[in-house]
C-alpha cells in the first residue's frame, strides 16, 4: 500500500504518542498535522468532520479515516510491513490487549484527570472567559464538556482526585510487578503494549518521584531506559512543542 499517511496529533504522549511511535517503529513516513489541544483545535469544524467525537488523534491512510489511538496502532501494525509489534504467541497477544485496555479505560483516565487539573486547566485558564465558554459549547461529548469545565475552573472534587491518585499509585505498582514477570509489558518482546504504557508513564520518575524511581521501582526504570533508547522514540520526541518535550531529556539524564 503506497497511499499517503497523515496524522493529526498533539504532543508525543498519552494518546497522540501511540500512533506516532507505532508509525515510527514501522518506518512509515507520515504527514504530521500538529493539533493544538490547548487551542481547542480538536473541536473545530474541519476536525469534527474527521472525528465527530472531537478527540485527538486521527489518522488518514489514503481516503480512510481512523480514530481511537490503540485501535489505530493495531491497524498500523497490520497494514504495514516492518517490525512486528504484536508477537506470534496467542496468549501473549491476549495479555497485550488486556494491558492496553487497562491503561486506556482504567488507569489512563486517572492520569488525565491529574494532568488536566495540574497542566491543561491552568494552561488555558488565562484565556478570555467568553472565548472559553464558546469553546466548551463546541465540545461534542457531554462527558468531555464536564471534564473541560472542571479542569478550567479547578473543580475536580476531592473524592474524584483521591480516587485518581489511588489508581495511579496502584497502576504503577502493577506495572512494576508486571515488569518483574516479563521483560516488556505483557510479554518478553517489545510490543504495542509498551508503546501504549510508555506514553503515559515516561515522566513518572520526574513527575511522581514518590511513586517511581531507582529504589522504589527498579523494573520500571530498567524498562524506561530500554524504551528511551529506541530510535523511534528519539525521532518522535523531536515532534513535541510544549515543555513536555524538554521533560523527556531531564528524565533521560536522571536514568542514564
Amino acid at each position: 500500500m503506497t497511499e499517503q499517511v497523515a496524522l493529526y496529533h498533539w504532543e508525543p504522549n498519552a494518546n497522540s504518542g501511540k500512533p506516532m511511535l507505532a508509525l515510527a517503529e514501522k518506518g512509515v513516513a507520515y504527514e504530521s498535522h500538529y493539533t493544538d489541544l490547548l487551542s481547542f483545535d480538536q473541536h473545530k469544524p474541519e476536525y469534527l468532520k474527521m472525528n465527530p467525537n472531537g478527540t485527538i488523534p486521527v489518522m488518514k491512510h489514503g481516503d480512510r479515516v481512523l480514530t481511537e489511538s490503540t485501535a489505530i496502532m493495531e491497524y498500523v501494525n497490520e497494514a504495514f510491513d516492518g517490525t512486528a509489534l504484536m508477537p506470534e504467541d496467542v496468549q501473549a497477544r491476549w495479555r497485550i490487549r488486556w494491558w492496553m485496555k487497562f491503561m486506556d479505560q482504567w488507569l489512563g483516565p486517572s492520569f488525565s484527570m491529574l494532568g488536566w487539573s495540574m497542566f491543561v486547566g491552568p494552561s488555558v485558564r488565562q484565556k478570555d472567559p467568553a472565548e472559553l465558554d464558546a469553546a466548551i459549547e463546541r465540545i461534542p461529548l457531554p462527558e468531555r464538556r464536564t471534564a473541560w469545565r472542571k479542569a478550567i475552573s479547578g473543580n475536580f472534587s476531592d473524592a474524584e482526585m483521591a480516587e485518581s491518585k489511588r489508581r495511579v499509585a496502584l497502576g504503577v505498582e502493577m506495572l512494576e510487578a508486571e515488569l518483574g514477570r516479563h521483560d516488556y509489558v505483557a510479554s518478553d518482546e517489545y510490543s504495542l503494549a509498551d508503546i501504549n504504557w510508555f506514553n503515559s508513564t515516561y515522566s513518572l520518575p520526574l513527575g511522581q518521584p514518590d511513586l517511581a524511581g531507582k529504589d522504589r521501582t527498579p523494573n520500571i526504570m530498567r524498562w524506561l531506559k530500554q524504551v528511551y533508547h529506541r530510535p523511534a522514540v528519539q525521532e518522535t520526541w523531536t515532534k513535541g512543542r510544549t515543555d513536555l518535550a524538554s521533560r523527556y531529556r531531564l528524565v533521560m539524564e536522571e536514568i542514564d
Partner: protein, 260 residues
C-alpha cells in the same frame, strides 16, 4: 499449547460471548460453571492480576498454562487465533479496525449501561437475600476496590437516578446504531459474522425485558437478535444455562466511564 478450563457464569453478558466463541471455534475446553452473581469467581476460579483487576467486572475466567485470563472480547480473539483463525475476526486491517472500534463502543459505553440496569432490575433483590456475614465473605475475597464498591452499591440498592436515565439512553442509542448498521440488509454487523455480533448480543439480550421501548421500532435489530440466538454456537452456549432465564443473571459489570 496447554489445556483450557473455562470458569463461566450463566450465558449472559461476557460468559455468553466466550462460551459462544468457544463453540464457534470447535476447540476443546473443560467447562466449570460458577455463580458469578455470588462472586464465586474470586473463590472458585484461579486468580491472577488480569482476572482480579479485570475492568469488565464479573466475567468468565479462562485458565491456560496456569494463567487466569479475563475480558470477553480478548478471550474470544484468543480462541479465534488459537484455532488458527476460526473466522471470528476479519483479516483485512481496516475491517479488523472497524470490528475493534465496534467492540470498544460496546465495552466502553453499552456494557456499563446494561450492567447498571440489569443489576438494578435483578441484582439487588438477589443480594439482599444474603445475610451480612455471607455478603462480607463474598466481598472480602475481592481485591479490586472499585469492583467491591459496585457490589456494595448493588446490594444497598444504591443507584443514581441520573445514571439510570443515562444508561437507558445509552441502550436506546445502541439499538438505534444496530438498526442503522443493519439497514442495508446485511445479516451481521461487520458483513461476515464476528465477535462484534456476539459481544453486542450478549449485552443487549437482557435489555429487551428491562427496556422494551428501546426495541419498539427496531425491526432490523430484532431480526438480527433472532439470527444470533439461532446460531448453533449461541444455542449451545445458552444450553449451558442452569436457570430458566439466563437474561436475568447479572453480576457487577464494568464501571460507568468516569472521564468521557
Amino acid at each position: 499449547m496447554g489445556m483450557m478450563t473455562l470458569y463461566h457464569g450463566e450465558p449472559n453478558g461476557p460468559s455468553l460471548t466466550v462460551l459462544a466463541a468457544l463453540y464457534e471455534t470447535g476447540l476443546d475446553a473443560d467447562l466449570v460453571p460458577i455463580d458469578l452473581s455470588l462472586g464465586e469467581r474470586h473463590r472458585k476460579a484461579p486468580l491472577g492480576v488480569e482476572s482480579a483487576m479485570s475492568i469488565e467486572g464479573e466475567g468468565p475466567v479462562l485458565e491456560v498454562n496456569g494463567e487466569a485470563m479475563a475480558d470477553s472480547v480478548f478471550l474470544a480473539q484468543y480462541l479465534d487465533e488459537r484455532a488458527g483463525g476460526a473466522g471470528l475476526q476479519p483479516s483485512d486491517p481496516l475491517a479488523h479496525w472497524e470490528m475493534m472500534m465496534w467492540c470498544r463502543y460496546i465495552i466502553e459505553r453499552v456494557a456499563p449501561a446494561a450492567a447498571y440496569l440489569g443489576n438494578r432490575a435483578h441484582g439487588t433483590a438477589r443480594l439482599k437475600n444474603l445475610d451480612g456475614p455471607a455478603f462480607d465473605m463474598l466481598t472480602d475475597a475481592i481485591s479490586s476496590v472499585d469492583l467491591k464498591q459496585r457490589w456494595i452499591d448493588i446490594r444497598n440498592g444504591d443507584f443514581d437516578e441520573a445514571k439510570v436515565a443515562d444508561s437507558a439512553t445509552k441502550i436506546s442509542e445502541a439499538v438505534d446504531k444496530l438498526e442503522e448498521r443493519l439497514a442495508d440488509g446485511r445479516d451481521w454487523l461487520m458483513g461476515d459474522f464476528s465477535i462484534a455480533d456476539l459481544e453486542s448480543y450478549a449485552w443487549l439480550a437482557g435489555m429487551v425485558s428491562i427496556l422494551p421501548s428501546a426495541f419498539d421500532r427496531a425491526e432490523n435489530a430484532t431480526a438480527w437478535m433472532v439470527r444470533v440466538k439461532a446460531r448453533p454456537s449461541v444455542a449451545a452456549a445458552l444450553a449451558c444455562a442452569q436457570s430458566d432465564d439466563p437474561t436475568t443473571a447479572w453480576a457487577p459489570g464494568p464501571e460507568i466511564n468516569r472521564w468521557g
